[in-house]
Amino acid sequence: MAEHTFAISMAVVTLFWGFVGGVVPWFIPKGPNRGVIVTMLVLTAVSCYLFWLIAILAQLNPLFGPALSNDTIWYLSQHWS
């Protein structure tokens, strides 16, 4: 399960922002504001997805780990799996 977490989160988030940016614009009713609303949706989807993607890719292959104090290490070894 742990190995697939990356794939699951990648799939879910990509699908979500893809839906917001690619599918919802087709359903915006015609009116004077349609162009602006579609632009907003697409730009929001692109920028938010990009930001999330950068955050997850930066942690994919870490070169070094966190340095923790003794008390934190003791606490975490007891309480976190």
Partner: protein
Amino acid sequence: MGSFFRSEEMSLVQLFFQTESAHYCISELGNLGLVQFKDLNPDTSAFQRRFVNEVRKCEDMERILRLLEKEMLKSDITIANGTDSDRVPCPRDVFELESTFEKLEQELKEINSNRETLKRNFSELREIRYLLQMAEDFFEQAECQLSVSELPSEDSITLTSSSRMVRRTSSIASTTGPLKLGFVTGVIQQERFLSFEKILWRLFHGNFILRHAEIQTLEEDDSTEKSVKKVVFIIFIQGDHVRRKIRKICEGFHASLYPCPNSPGARKDMRTNVSTRISDLTMILKKTEEYRLNVLTSAAAHIRRWNAKVTKMKAVYYTLNLCNIDITQKLIVAEIWCPVPDLGMVQTALVKASEHSGCSLSPVMNRIPTNHTPPTFNRTNIFTTGFQSIIDAYGVADYQEINPAPYTIVTFPFLFAVMFGDCGHGLLMTLLAAWIIHHEEHFCQLKSELIDVLVGGRYIVLLMGLFSIYTGLIYNDCFSKSLNVFGSSWSVRAMFQPQGPWTNETLHGSTHLQLDPAVSGVFSGSPYAFGIDPIWNIASNKLTFLNSFKMKMSVIIGVIHMLFGVTLSLVNYFNFRNFKNIFLQFVPEVVFMLSLFGYLVVLILYKWCVALQSDMAPSILLLFINMMLFTYEDSQEAMLFSCQKPVQIFLVVVALLMVPWLLLAKPLLMYRNHKNQVFGNRRHNQSGGPDMDTDFAAEHKGDMVSMTDVFVYQAIHTIEFCLGCISNTASYLRLWALSLAHAELSEVLWKMVLHVALGVTSGKGSVLLAVIFAVFASLTVAILLVMEGLSAFLHALRLHWVEFQNKFYKGSGYKFTPLCFDSLMRVQ
């Protein structure tokens, strides 16, 4: 696509209307608010225009209205918010209003001056009354200290006439003969009294007796309208010479002298006289005040309507000044800029106005083609107005140029949020914006400038807050604490025996230990599902990781934003049918940017996606620098991937080739075109005669001069673009810098303010916590929301104005300012 993506198509229309219907037509157009009048008399100064007298009259009327409003405010009369009359102001109204206003002004002036005189008289009478009262007391005291004598002069005191004094005369010894004692009574301001007394002592060396008493109730000084304390004095002196001197001194000190009769009977008479006069005067003053209030109240009912009328009339006359008045005085010609979709509405409005005015002929609209650049008009609603105004603050778009505003609606709050990045503070900001939007009408009526700015940008603040919540969730930062929703990907247990190197002794041996991802099980292989892992919040080397992450993120976002800007310039070229420029400018720009900075982004992404051993991972910065300097080490470990060296050499060479392409291709092409044109003309007109040659020589020289211009301009553009690429990419690092500052400030507030209170374990801790929380909340709002918010707003704005827009935006147009009565009223 709506008109928001670029300026609406504008047409120049000539209007012909009759002089009689001019007022009605222009007022109707003003109500509509869709046309901008062009100045047809640009050479005439303001004083030479035809309707300058009428404009002056309107300004005079405005002055009178302002005076009336000031008087009303002084008397606390509430001004009714009148409904705007829809009646069109016409020349007759001007005369009517003018006469009304002049009458009102006269009346008010009269009333005010009368009031002043009456008040002055009133205060004088009151002073006299006090004087007489005090004089009684003085004389009672005086008889004990002065010798009694019967004196012939009128001003002297006759003590023997009072019965009490007769009884006392025997007790007072009089050694000297009869004394001539005169007295002077008056009133002086209290602050001057001491110096007055000192001067009297210096002059008369004590040959006088001065008695004084304060007037208990305060008087109103007419000139300053403040209450001034006054003092009644009475001076007993010998001789007329001294009396004259004292009079002069009193004049110098602005003391008012009043005659006081000697005999008590006369004094009593005078007192009753003064009292009746005072009561009369009070009644008169009350009546005057009532009359004044009546006049002002009746004017207050109409003043809003008058204000509106005068403003409209002034605008109409100002517009008439811009038109061309025909010589026969029967026709007025106007030129207006009007958006093409609205031409129909303008036509119906004009027809309605001319019917209303009772003219036989309806106005004629004639659309004319023109070479003048039309004004830029972007139709906005309440949501998009804010974003359009921040774009216009830098420069109004050229006519039909692409409008950056619709993209700014999302990219501006997004860049703000990258720098602000805290979901707790973002939530506060969203709630504030939602509250302002909910109470829009109430806030629109407040007239403070600071609040106006905030209310005008309420939708911007709302979007900034929403995006900040999202980036705060990704940075995993909520009031400087992290949320652990999905479970951290780092496991501490795996570092202990038997999998990892740690034992209990290692724990005792050092205070900080670092997890090693190379040990199996420590890093689960899948990063935290949404955002930054919460373990970094409690790590001591948090900044080492976050700095590397945020710097790379800034570079990636910056390169993408700039590429977006360059792509918008492509859209501009398509719109203006400037296909040559696509090859001459767009292609080299994009290739230059992609080959250098696009490759940098690829390197960053590649290094993230590939598993490396930490001691052998090359630094991207060093790789990039070496790439530009063409220095390569021979070892295999310095490269990220195989065949990196030939790829990099290729990319740098391509980028360097783009520079001369960008610099020389366009000017050389233009030069060749011009030379062909000139030669073609020369060959064509060889038979034209010798006098043609001089013309062509001049033209040729003109062309040569403009060729130099073209070369210089292109050189500047090339340098600006190429150096700008590097400096602008570095400029995007402010995204990292500001988000680091915000996170650190937030953490300082937690650690040094709130944590201190939460750590107190005694019972008093609850009280301390309440106090410290108030401090924490006010510091959060003042420093983190207001100061950091303004700072991030400013930097996001700069990134848009400079780094994004200098890729495609000219911004040298002028804004469409229609004649609109609604906006004039709102400015009032």
